[in-house]
Assembly symmetry: C2
Homo-oligomer: 198 residues x 2
DNA sequence: CCCACTAGTATCGACTCGAAACTATTAAGC
DNA sequence: GCTTAATAGTTTCGAGTCGATACTAGTGGG
């Protein structure tokens, strides 16, 4: 409410503005552009169900047409490969090539992580908490979907046997290598309620 | 160093990634795109010396050609006007029109500020401090210039009489309305040193 | 078998992006 | 004063984003 506190909220907004510009600038690197880096990065972190053009469009907040174009560009540069799904031939699975994996090792956004590592002890925690609140607030107010990994998802059915995880939505078992990957169908897990009033 | 602390640095990086995407998405609004909003926003905050195509390119980290194109788009939409400098006819001064001012009142990034205002007491301060360190680190490592306002600039020569501020670089007096505006020629003010060893 | 639905692609026009070539205009050297 | 260099902007190019719209192909229900 005070002038000083108003000032600091302004600082947050302007620093984020700077950071956004900085991060964007960094991503015009190595022959790719920000959209292509975003796409490549997502494919590398997504579960099998989400490594498709449609899922990429949903995650990146764009349209299927745009996503398709970006994929074509990445394919042309040899960083991504298309594979038809044998079960449902409408679906196109995206696979990162070896060249793509090598490329990702030089992800220009890696330096943001390194900068976070150089922050003093405790600062990174506070920063992460503050950012989380900010992101959460913005997401709610702008109706943006939240994405998360399988093993924290409301559809995840885990058993004592770690090797036998299942997705309640797709009715499919989830390989252990996939449980820690991002899914476009992520649903926030409800806190266990005993007395629900529908 | 621990796994937990590694996790939180990862959180910072990913939250910033999300925030960047969110902010970018918000800026495809109202008939403008992110580059155009950035440009309009900068012109409204820059001092007279910096309201030129070249300065915009420097500040936004792009080329003069690209900045020129963005200005043409804004001019076509009636938010910006060009004026030839009478002293140096190479220079083109940019002026925001009334329509441009109205437009800026609905700046989509305003909501980031509002989100910051809704943070609990103290969180915004910590967030701003953490972000500042991060931005500073990234700027140094990537050779990006820092921009600031006249009255905090190393070239600023203020006197007891507030109305008589001067810019040591341009050898020009600075009107009072301009002292709080961004300048592309900003130079970090050296802490007063008495015994300098050159 | 038809029809609705879904996944993805193709095409359009407006625009960004960097790079490079270009036009004015000013300043500096002789 | 005249040439030359530097500066401020613009133009043009090709690749690519972006949303919108129309399209193809495969799936599944009635």
């Amino acid at each position: 409410m005070s002038a000083a506190s108003l000032d600091c909220q302004d600082r947050v907004a302007r620093l984020l503005d700077q950071l956004t510009r900085l991060a964007r600038g960094l991503q015009f690197a190595d022959g790719l552009n920000p959209a292509q880096w975003d796409c490549l990065r997502f494919i590398s972190r997504a579960n099998a169900h989400s490594r498709t053009p449609g899922a990429i469009a949903t995650f990146l907040g764009t349209t299927k047409g745009t996503a398709s174009q970006t994929i074509i560009a990445l394919e042309g540069k040899g960083f991504v490969r298309r594979e038809k799904d044998p079960c449902d031939r409408r679906i196109c699975r995206l696979v990162i090539t070896d060249a793509g994996k090598t490329k990702l090792e030089n992800d220009p956004l890696r330096c943001v992580r390194h900068a976070a590592e150089r922050l003093p002890h405790g600062t990174a925690e506070m920063l992460a908490d503050g950012l989380e609140q900010l992101v959460c607030d913005l997401r709610i107010r702008h109706g943006c979907h939240e994405f998360g990994v399988c093993n924290k998802c409301g559809h995840f059915i885990g058993s004592g046997d770690k090797a036998k995880a299942t997705c309640g939505l797709l009715q499919e078992s989830i390989p252990q290598t996939e449980t820690n990957r991002i899914c476009v169908s992520f649903k926030k897990r409800e806190p266990a309620v005993e007395l629900g009033s529908d």
